[in-house]
Each structure stands twice: as structure tokens, then as C-alpha cells.
Symmetry: C2
Subunit: 292 residues, 2 copies
């Protein structure tokens, strides 16, 4: 979705704010999975099949690490690894995550401004009946198997929005909440003190990540169910609650449109599943045209 | 040379003690260049052309790091990198360098016991007219260009020999000082408190790293010259001084044999330049046969 918006808008007209509550330390490296996926995608470097990592990646490092008995549950490709090593070095040298991201985006020729939600550490903790799990432990190592009973964002109370986010929101004609996981990818951003308040006066349009009762990708639908909520665009509308000006639904969920509009949220029904680059551009154009 | 000895001797009959004063921290990783070269060589993984790193290495990580503006003066291949990452993780988890090396040698099927000279940190400092330089700064980044006026081994006073070294020396029929750089590869080992003393009662045979006034490899000859000493097997004999029982010279230096024998050191003259695996085995056999 961000890629679609980047294709349609000029580089100065788009700011992409990215979740960093998935960030974690692994093998002594600072890894920012969501930032990397967004930047690699905007740079045209992303692996289109996995949804993470780089295309045409090689795996010599990981194969050698596995032989030595190292930790290989988090898949680090040879080129991807350079991102983490250089990010870690720069952070240790005193740069902020925002500065590092800006430098990388310059190298990768990423047009739009990409901002981590905060330069302060925030860590998603997944609450399960068996106890709390660090996010990547739940997500990658345990393959989203444990049942979820809630989430905590450790450090969120004292996290400050990255410089530029509040200004970008204030100056925005429109804020698009991309069809990402509401619980673990969008909620942390909304929970950074100041961001939700700034959004209240804006045109905010979400694209539903739930289509036909299932998530486009990842565990969002399963999380809704485990938390006792039927996964649907209606659940998404309720999730974002009073923030939303509009919600974009897939045609398969057209039947839910009326009920959502009753709650005061405008609805756009279209094809929301993006399989090609042109799908991304088309959806971005429709979303932008609809709300202006 | 160590590889030749390993080919000739049974795995239980050889202990290889390796310099760790070249070890340094780079990109947050603990790198042990000499240990790696020795282990890779004994494992059949070494790059025969460079003298460091692994054969058939790939460089995707380094190429990506260079694009990001990272530090690439120390060449880390994709597979080699796994060694440093896993070593660093284990050291941080509390293992000693000796334990890490043992675990790696098991994976790599290295027969002989390989012991770092010490588990305590020692750092070679190169003294130059322009000031002191960290070893890898001198050796790799500045390509051994600065003039050398001396060496210091920081931390050597409190370094303890790795458990097993003194016992191995005491039980050894023979100690071979391989044709490595006397100033920076052998001297640090000899300077670890206790090692020189333990050697005094043993049969110690050095193979001269200086052949025809030049070093077989690396800056040893240049260092001798810069320190005001003519590089020759005689200089090597004087370097190791009263430790030596015998010195192995190349045929090209046969003329020096008499003078060296005058100083009470037995001399073996043979072909000392090892270009093939069979050269290594042959030299090892000759050295072992000569002194028993």
C-alpha cells in the first residue's frame, strides 16, 4: 500500500510512519523488521514472495552459522545482514534510528520520507495463557502458534514520536492506515503518546486488512478470533473507533458496508487485494481520489 | 607448517598454540584472525591464495555494507562472518575463547588440539615514529606502510596461558616454532607469563620465516630492517636466542649455517618454502625426524 502511494504521490507528498515495536536485538544486532520491509519495498529490493528480506538474497552466512550451532530461527540473508550491522554500528555511534533510516533511504533511493514511529525503544509483548512472550519469539520462533490473550507495548508511555511525525500529520490532507495488522503493526504507532491526539482532527482512512473473514497476510484474523472478536471489516472499524473518517473494504465484504456507514464511517468498496505493482497503484489512486 | 605436522602426526600427538594478540573488535564482533587462519587451514576450509578467510567465499554482505557506507577495510566474507558472529555470541554468554575454539574445531573436524595462547585479552600495539597504532589498523587498514620502531603487547603482564598449554609443553617431545612472523605472531605467545620458562627445558626447533633475506609472507623482513637488523636466519636465531635447540633453514641460506651452529644452535638445511600440501607434509616429516 505504501508502495502504491509512493508511485502515485510525489516524493515530497508522502511520509510513511512505521512500527518499531517489533524491533529486537538478535546476534548483538539491532533489527527493525518493519522498517526494513517498508524500505526494501519502496526501494524495489524486497523479496516479493516472503514479505521480508531482500530479493535474490544469498544465505551463505546463515548456512555457516547453522553448522556452528548458532541461532538461525531468524532468517538473516547475507545482504540483509549488512543493513543490521551498519544500523547497529550507527546507533552505537550515537545516531538515532530516524537518522540511520534517512541515510539508508538515501543510499537505496527511497523517495518518500520514512519515519520510525519513535527513536525510543518500544517492545511488543504478546500475552498468552502460558505467559508473556517477546514479539519475535511469538511471531517467528513459535510461528504465531500460541493463543493470544492480549498485547503490551513496553516502553510506550515514555516513547516520543519521531521528530516530524506530528508535523506531518498536522499538515496532511489525508492519513492512510495501511492494511497491516491492527493489533501488532498499527496499534503501537497509535499508542505513541501524541499520535492518536494528532490524528483526531484529520481525515483518516483505513484499508481493511481483513477480507472475507481472513487476513490478507499474517495472523490478524486469528488474533481477532482468539480475542473473542469475529474478524471482519466491521471489527476493523470498531478497532480504530473514533479515529476513522473512512474505511476501504473489499468487494467480498460489501454486505458489511451499510452497518459500518451506520456507525458514521464512510465506506469505499473496491478490490483491495494487491497482487501486482499496478494493483498497488490503482488502490492508492482510488483511496486518494475518494477522500479528497 | 601446522597443517604439515597435523598430516604427519596423530591427532592426539599435536597441540597447536596460536597467537591471539591480533584479536580485535570490529563491527561489534570478536575477530581472531590467527586462530581462524589456523583452524580454516587445518579444516581444509582456507583460501589458499589470500592466506586468510575461507575458500569459495562469497561477498554479498560486504558489498551491501559498502553501499551503506559501512566499514569494509577488514574483508569479511559471508561464511567467515558466521564464525565471528557465533564466537562473539558464545563469548558474551560466558564461554572462554578456548571453549569456543574447541567447539568450532569439532564442527570443522579439525584433528589436532588448537589452543589460543590465552583466554585473557592481549593486544599488539605497533609503535611508529608517528605514534602507536592498533595492530589491525597498522596491518590491514594501513597495509603495513608505517615504519615500525617497536611493539607492545597490551595486557600481556596479566595474561595467563590457556589451560593445557604448559602441560602440553611439559609433555612435548618437541616444540616447533612455525615460520611465522617472529615480531608479531610468535613473540606474543612467548611473552605470555610462564610460556618462555616452560620452553627452556624442551627441545625447541624454529623454522626460519626469512629466506634469502625476505619473508616467506608478510612484513617480517621489512620489520627487521626498520628495526635496524638485517633480515636473515641468523637474525631469527638471535631473536629466539637461548630458547632454540635447532633452526631449520632454506637451502638458499646454507651459507649462514656455520655461523648459527657456532652460537650453539643445531641447523637443518632443507627446502622450507611450502607451496603444496605435500611440501607441508615433507617439511613436517623432516623437522620431526631431525630432532628426535
Amino acid at each position: 500500500m505504501a508502495h502504491g502511494l509512493a508511485m502515485v504521490l510525489g516524493r515530497a507528498d508522502l511520509t510513511v510512519v512505521v512500527n518499531t515495536a517489533d524491533d529486537f536485538e538478535h546476534l548483538g544486532l539491532h533489527i527493525s523488521p518493519d522498517l526494513d520491509t517498508v524500505c526494501y519495498t519502496l526501494a524495489g529490493l524486497a523479496n516479493p514472495f516472503t514479505g521480508w528480506g531482500q530479493a535474490n538474497e544469498t544465505w551463505e552466512f546463515l548456512a555457516a552459522l547453522e553448522k556452528l550451532g548458532g541461532e538461525v530461527w531468524f532468517r538473516l540473508g547475507d545482504r540483509d545482514l549488512a543493513t543490521h550491522v551498519e544500523r547497529t554500528r550507527r546507533l552505537q555511534a550515537g545516531e538515532t534510528l530516524t537518522q540511520v533510516t534517512r541515510a539508508f533511504c538515501r543510499v537505496w533511493r527511497v523517495g518518500p520520507r520514512v519515519l520510525p514511529m519513535s527513536d525510543d525503544p518500544v517492545h511488543t509483548v504478546v500475552v498468552t495463557p502460558g505467559g508473556e512472550l517477546a514479539f519475535q519469539d511469538y511471531f517467528v520462533r513459535r510461528g504465531c502458534e500460541p493463543i493470544v490473550s492480549g498485547f503490551r507495548f513496553e516502553g510506550i508511555e515514555t516513547a516520543r514520536p519521531t521528530p516530524g511525525i506530528l508535523e506531518a500529520i498536522k499538515g496532511a490532507q489525508m492519513v492512510v492506515i495501511c492494511p497491516s495488522n491492527p493489533w501488532i503493526s498499527v496499534d503501537p504507532i497509535l499508542a505513541v503518546p501524541g499520535i492518536r491526539e494528532a490524528l483526531k482532527s484529520r481525515v483518516v482512512v483505513a484499508v481493511s486488512p481483513i477480507v472475507g473473514g481472513e487476513a490478507i497476510k499474517g495472523p490478524a484474523a486469528r488474533m481477532y478470533r482468539q480475542l473473542g472478536i469475529e474478524p471482519s471489516p466491521l471489527a476493523v472499524a470498531r478497532h480504530y473507533d473514533d479515529l476513522l473518517t473512512g474505511l476501504v473494504l473489499d468487494r467480498r465484504d460489501e454486505a458489511k458496508a451499510e452497518q459500518i456507514e451506520h456507525s458514521g464511517v464512510r465506506v469505499l468498496v473496491t478490490d483491495t487485494i494487491m497482487q501486482t505493482e499496478s494493483d498497488r497503484g490503482r488502490l492508492a489512486r482510488e483511496v486518494l481520489a475518494y477522500s479528497i
